[in-house]
Symmetry: C2
Subunit: 253 residues, 2 copies
């Protein structure tokens, strides 16, 4: 089977964090937003929105929250958010009650079926156009602050940022877990043995070794047992509180 | 700007629910799984797995849960799941504690950065290969039952199904909310007016009207104010309980 251009890009995906000093053309911008708009949506509820943040002050505030210097530097910055405000307003303004907009079920549907699928769809689109991008989970290092910076109404919640632009770096492809560890048939393999990762750990160590002499040389196992899964950026655990303050997942207790 | 093949497919996305009686070749299957494997992942934690369900009994059980006759009929069926079991085992088997695997923060990272992005990436890949697909949120109509059917360990949680195959239908493109309602600049428009959807409502009504004489003719506004956001499939709200039973989101209260 010959790989088409879409597959080639997908299998060759690497995160780009350094962009040239050049913004998207209006045509590119609209195309990316159109792709977001055409992403699958659960029950046709279309429960998401995307903000394109160009205001230098807001970009700086988001950079401070994420604590990553490349956030809001070169490139175009988007914030993808759960948006049940719009549908709530439709219900309210036509004389209906809130229905189930405050439930975790409806939140998760908006979360997964539009926000996240749309992010990947837009990233694929950007990469197909020769651009690069980075998905920003770090925008939620201080979720209360982010809601304040973006001045968001209740029933919205920013989930991920996406920064795209013209790549100004050419990173190596990062070696992922071999398929046998992540893709299964009818039975989930509960007898997973951490020691089976030995070969993969060596591949990952070599990757870091070659990539940057200044970075720690770290196997996958060492990353899993290290601070990434042990130490919280303190305010990240406030996501739960902020979700509820936004009127979402009120049944989660 | 000329649209490349990736963009054309994305802007032309439509859900396919009817497939020919033909399964993926081994090469196609592996390519799709490889694309999932190459999707962006938060903190490199790779906290997801995918199951390829071929067992007719399990397919029937999943169809019963989803209550949709096309689920597990023709086409290949995948279940994408949050999988923190593997990383927990790595920590445990190397003498470490569970760290933050039980937190909502880590759950949401696994949820968004791999499970959902991977689903869209695989769907795009399938569509680029001339296949069609449907994302299945309905697998969680009875989450406790689904965990039982798939015999999943704690710290895993099935999020979405994806069924792909050779299309046996050619549905119309479904009209989405115009960009002005979902894509914003620096400021979120809190002054949204439901009455501004009048034109769009008419477009949606026409779409249903043309699509199938047997389907209700329904505007977007009518769908938002109707049972989709008011009436729960009872067990869907058990997602919260099942997540906790799986040892996930234990800090959510």
């Amino acid at each position: 089977m010959e790989l088409n251009e879409t597959l080639k890009k997908q299998l060759d995906h690497r995160t780009i964090r350094a962009f040239k000093e050049q913004i998207l053309s209006q045509e590119q911008l609209v195309t990316l937003l159109e792709v977001a708009r055409h992403t699958s949506t659960s029950m046709f509820m279309q429960g998401f929105s995307v903000m394109h943040i160009t205001d230098p002050k807001k970009r700086a505030a988001i950079r401070n929250i994420s604590t990553q210097p490349y956030v809001g530097a070169n490139g175009d910055l988007f914030i993808f958010m759960v948006d049940l405000y719009r549908n709530y307003q439709i219900r309210k303004q036509t004389g209906h009650d809130a229905g189930r907009v405050h439930t975790t079920d409806i939140f998760l549907q908006a979360y997964e079926d539009t926000v996240l699928l749309a992010v990947q769809n837009v990233l694929n689109a950007a990469e197909s156009m020769g651009l690069g991008g980075v998905i920003l989970g770090s925008i939620n290092n201080d979720p209360a602050k982010l809601v304040e910076v973006l001045d968001l109404p209740k029933l919205t919640y920013p989930v991920l940022g996406l920064q795209v632009g013209v790549p100004d770096q050419a990173p190596q492809l990062k070696p992922r877990l071999p398929l046998e560890f992540i893709a299964f048939g009818n039975d989930y393999p509960k007898d997973f043995k951490a020691s089976d990762l030995k070969d993969y750990d060596e591949v990952v160590q070599t990757y870091y070794d070659l990539r940057d002499a200044n970075r720690r040389i770290d196997s996958f196992t060492n990353q899993v047992i290290g601070p990434k899964l042990s130490v919280a950026s303190k305010k990240r655990d406030e996501q739960v509180k902020v979700l509820k303050a936004q009127g979402l997942c009120l049944d989660f207790n």
